[in-house]
């Protein structure tokens, strides 16, 4: 199974992606949305909340599964994708675009450097993909 892994993003071991673009945008990867199947509910923090790298910041539910969303970087939430409340399926359809989850103002810019690049993440996915 081929999964889309854009070259210009950074990736966490928890299958979240990070795009540095003004703030830092966060979402789940194509591999993650594919593993979950039809996504039916996304629970996100509020603007102004703090998130901590590696800690749960929300929940994503598919028909069959519930998993924690784990923050790939620490900082303050400066925007939340409000569309996902009514259209959680955007995560399945466009996980790197309209399915983004939160925008974070990072408290420690160096954390981005601790994430994987596309090549390293592709290897991590290949190991787990069956």
């Amino acid at each position: 199974m081929d999964h889309e892994i854009p070259e210009d993003l950074h990736y966490s071991a928890d299958d979240e992606w990070v795009r540095v673009e003004g703030g830092v945008f966060v979402g789940v990867t194509d591999f993650a949305q594919h593993q979950l199947g039809d996504i039916v509910y996304v629970e996100l923090p509020k603007r102004g909340d703090s998130v901590v790298q590696g800690d749960a910041f929300g929940v994503i539910e598919s028909v069959k599964a519930v998993i924690d969303l784990r923050a790939p970087i620490s900082g303050e939430v400066i925007a939340v994708n409000e569309l996902l409340a009514d259209q959680p399926e955007l995560v399945n359809g466009d996980c790197y675009g309209d399915g983004w989850m939160i925008e974070v103002s990072p408290s420690d810019e160096t954390e981005v450097g601790s994430l994987m690049d596309a090549t390293a993440y592709a290897a991590s996915v290949a190991e787990r993909d069956t």
Binding site: M1, G37, D38, V40, Y41, E43, V59, E61, S62, V63, K64, V66, A85
Partner: protein, 363 residues
């Protein structure tokens, strides 16, 4: 058919892999949870048809002299009253009235029946029947040799008609016949676990791949697609059909589960009947209800049900209903809340989400 260790495989394991299924373990078997999308497979069953590999289900046959009177002791409905060629859904109950298993009973001949049983309970049921029918009939476990498919949805009869020379239009609900299906001799029953019209097929495992692939090929132009356990679960939930291990277990009575019409208490005589009669007289402590959430969220098994700050029950199953576009579930609650329109809250990750009791089936 069994791997060296770990979960068993059905005869269709390689076919599922080839179709791109994601596999999970269920009831000791490796089975497809979905091929493409639970929602799409669910919609296929509601709108046209879906084909499920349910070979994990068990078949226990009781045959020969004494079989029927022995079966009367362990099945919650009168087996003697089931005419050959007919099927009844019911329970095996323990002495306390709890459910050992919920099963369908096929009356195959004057002196024989078979029960179609839940995968996780095959060995338990076999021991239970052996223990309680020591002299009545010969018990045979056909589970490993038997493949079972469920063909479900409004187009099922048309799909099956294409590969079944004798036709299936005349086969009525809860009846079965032995028919030739895609060149294979199969038991075909008009039954299912989705709330839709449909059929269940029992055939030798050695012929499973041929028949499954022929059905998929012939049915594709009519909208048939393979469907996995994920859709099977959302479909049965919309139909408010209980799933053993969730709504039913050894500590749950069929009366609490609202399955009164599947236990012939007035005929009596089966194991557990006395306990159930006493329970009916004493009144129930809890009842199974269907509910829908009035706010966003998904209720899941184990979530607490609260009302007025008090815990009054527990969710046994929950999911977003693809057909209704609402979040639905089943829960055991105190009897005073077991009426359509009653309100309570479901505690989802420490958040109280408003819910309302609704009539079942949901669709």
């Amino acid at each position: 058919m069994t791997a060296a260790s770990g979960p068993k495989r059905t005869p269709l394991y390689e076919v599922h892999k080839r179709l791109g299924a994601r596999m999970v373990e269920f009831g000791g078997y490796t089975l497809p949870v979905q091929y493409s999308s639970i929602r799409e497979e669910h919609a296929a069953v509601r709108e046209s048809a879906g084909l499920f590999d349910v070979s994990h289900m068990g078949q226990l046959a009781l045959t020969g002299p004494g079989a029927i009177s022995a079966a009367e002791r362990i099945f919650s409905r009168s087996v003697a009253a089931i005419a050959p060629g007919r099927i009844r859904y019911g329970m095996l109950c323990n002495e306390g009235g709890g459910v050992v298993d919920d099963v369908t009973c096929y009356r195959t001949a004057e002196d024989s029946v078979f029960w179609c049983v839940n995968a996780a309970n095959i060995e338990k049921d076999q021991r239970w029947i052996e223990r309680h029918c020591p002299d009545g009939g010969q018990l045979r476990n056909d589970s490993d040799a038997t493949a079972m498919f469920a063909l479900q949805g409004p187009a099922s009869a048309e799909v099956l008609g294409k590969v079944c020379p004798a036709g299936v239009g005349a086969l009525r609900r809860y009846r079965f016949e032995r028919l030739e299906v895609a060149g294979c001799s199969a038991i075909v029953s008009r039954t299912g676990y989705t709330g839709a019209d449909g059929f269940e097929l029992y055939l030798p495992g050695s012929e499973a791949i041929d028949v499954f692939e022929t059905l998929l090929r012939e049915g594709a132009p009519l909208g048939l697609r393979p469907a996995g356990l994920g859709a099977r679960d959302t479909l049965r939930l919309e139909a408010a059909l209980p799933l053993y291990g969730h709504e039913l277990d050894e500590g749950t009575s069929p009366l609490e589960a609202g399955l009164d019409r599947f236990v012939d208490l007035d005929a009596g005589g089966f194991i557990g009947a006395d306990a159930l009669v006493r329970q009916r007289e004493a009144g129930l402590e809890r009842r199974l209800v269907g509910f829908e959430l009035e706010e966003r969220g998904v209720a899941r098994e184990g979530h607490a049900v609260v009302e007025g700050g008090r815990t009054v029950g527990k969710v046994t199953s929950g999911a977003p209903s693809p057909t209704l576009g609402k979040s639905i579930g089943l829960a055991y609650v105190s009897p005073d809340l077991a009426r359509a329109g009653c309100r309570f809250e479901v505690v989802i990750r420490e958040r109280c989400v408003r819910a309302r009791v609704v009539d079942t089936p949901f669709v």
